[in-house]
């Protein structure tokens, strides 16, 4: 297979000798040409650190990484020539126009003025920025600015594009736009490597996902493969706010044989993991009815990547990191 990224035993420590914290503890993985590869994990799991090592921004403590055919530690110049990087901060010049920003970036990669100008026009079109190209970046909206950040990452036609949390802070419409843009980059043959803590992003955008927690890889595969590893369905339950509704519901369901696991979410819902959702649902309702707990909403869902994360780490990724739209749903 045509590998664009190959990492073996990557490690990174921070801190003074004696007080070291292991940020990344020996991760190994491969990314193939033309796929969108997602690095999923909670904040502080080591995603950004790994990304920064792969993009030559951070020295590697131990292990090796090859990106676009070159060793990151020994041929950083050649790696830089072949990768694009979009940080969470962006990095566009406020006082310059979108076109000026792109021209500078393209020419820093060694392109001739005329060739870069043509490419800049393409990129402006690709990211729906043509209408704002001559405006200074300080007048851009949040969504336009984030599109320019991606444009800056691809203006030199990199083999691999790295993105650090590409949709953090975007509203649902801009996020969907962003996904479309990344998919069209993939169609043009660019390999996309992104970090995210959004389950939906990993699930619907990425061809392959790697889940990282506390600096180690806990699972890797296509979203479908990963979800298949977790058997069963989950039931999400909201009970009425009457005295101790939640606690009493927990008590009533605790001993039930069909409940494999139970968790209370950050927004006060009860999540049950069951083998067969269709059979469990009436039984759940019957038990709650028997102790006079009023059910406000109940829903049944097939396994999600969060269930994969929960199964591997015992914790939920969703709590506190959910997308705004998802909380409302």
């Amino acid at each position: 297979m045509d590998q664009v990224i190959a990492a073996a035993g990557l490690r990174k420590h921070f801190g003074r000798p004696g007080h070291q914290i292991e940020a990344v503890g020996g991760v190994s993985f491969e990314v193939e040409r033309g796929e969108i590869f997602g690095f999923l994990g909670p904040n502080g799991a080591g995603k950004t650190t790994t990304l920064r090592m792969l993009t030559t921004l951070l020295p590697i403590d131990a292990g090796t990484a090859t990106v676009a055919g070159f060793d990151v530690a020994h041929h950083s110049g050649r790696v830089r020539q072949r990768i694009g990087y979009v940080s969470q901060l962006g990095g566009a010049d406020d006082l310059a126009t979108g076109r000026e920003n792109l021209m500078l970036q393209g020419r820093l990669y060694g392109g001739e003025k005329r060739a870069v100008a043509a490419r800049v026009d393409d990129v402006l079109g690709l990211l729906d920025l043509a209408g704002f190209a001559e405006r200074r970046v300080r007048t851009y909206s949040g969504g336009q600015r984030r599109r320019l950040d991606v444009a800056l990452g691809v203006v030199h036609e990199p083999t691999v594009l790295f993105l650090d949390e590409p949709t953090t802070g975007l509203d649902p419409q801009n996020r969907a736009n962003r996904w479309d843009h990344l998919r069209s980059l993939r169609e043009q043959g660019t390999t996309v490597f992104l970090t995210t803590h959004y389950l939906e992003e990993a699930d619907s955008l990425c061809d392959r996902v790697m889940i990282i927690d506390h600096g180690s890889i806990v699972a890797e595969g296509s979203p479908r493969e990963l979800k298949r590893q977790v058997m069963g369905d989950s039931v999400l339950l909201e009970v009425a706010d009457e005295p101790n509704g939640l606690a009493r519901a927990r008590g009533a369901l605790e001993g039930a044989g069909f409940v494999r696991e139970m968790a209370t979410t950050a927004d006060g819902l009860l999540r049950l993991y069951v083998d067969d959702g269709a059979r469990a649902l009436p039984e759940v309702l019957r038990r709650l009815d028997a102790i006079d707990v009023n059910v406000k909403t109940i829903s049944l869902s097939a396994p999600s990547l969060d269930d994969v994360f929960l199964a591997k780490t015992g914790r939920s990724l969703r709590d506190g990191t959910a997308l705004p739209a998802e909380v409302a749903a």
Partner: protein, 253 residues
Amino acid sequence: MRIARETSLLFWRYSVQLLRNPVWLVVGLSTPLLYLALFTPLLRHLSGSPTLGGRSVIQEFLPGILALLAYASGSGPGFSTIFELQAGFVERLRVTPASRLSLLLGPLLSGMVAMFVFDGVLVAVGAAFGFRIHLGGLAVLAVLLGLLMCTVAAFSIAVALVTKDISSFAALINGLNLPVLLLGGVLLPVSLGPTWMRVIAHFNPLYYLVAASRTLSQGTYSGSATWQAFAVLVPLCAFTLAWATAVYRQAVA
């Protein structure tokens, strides 16, 4: 060749930024002019006195202001670097294959050109108040001013990359300002001070620049002050540039 190309790309980027930020230009120019306007009258009665070796106040004072401007122009790029770190611009550059020396020289040379423009305005204004222009001396002085500016700029950019936040960077730079400027004899010659002060001053690179600046402004080329200034500033500038490039290479934002 590649470094020259990259440096010129970044030079234009920084120069355009400066021109689009008129507040900075106004403040940058008004500070040295205010020194000239507000400080020179205080020294008026010293004019022609033995303290100044019989020279006029403006002939003695303007070279010090030129040195002060070189020093102040040098700390500017460090402040920009702090903001560029926070805006992700430094990272955007570091991930390109551009040479780290180019990343350093682009802003540095842009700041240097701005400094020379300000120097020109200062000399022209000074001339109107009796400063005698010796073109040859000023040309040699320009090289020395460039060397000091370059040294301070490389230092300030490196310190910015290491400290990363505006409060610790500003504390460090401002803390250095007062002793460096006073012990450099920018405002008043260090020769007025006691022996210990004159001894310490010899460890201050700015001292050599100020001394050379005063000599060269008289139209004296061959004074020992000029050779001493070159002997101190050339190696110091080379060393600071090498150090700052190394910091750029390793910087972790």
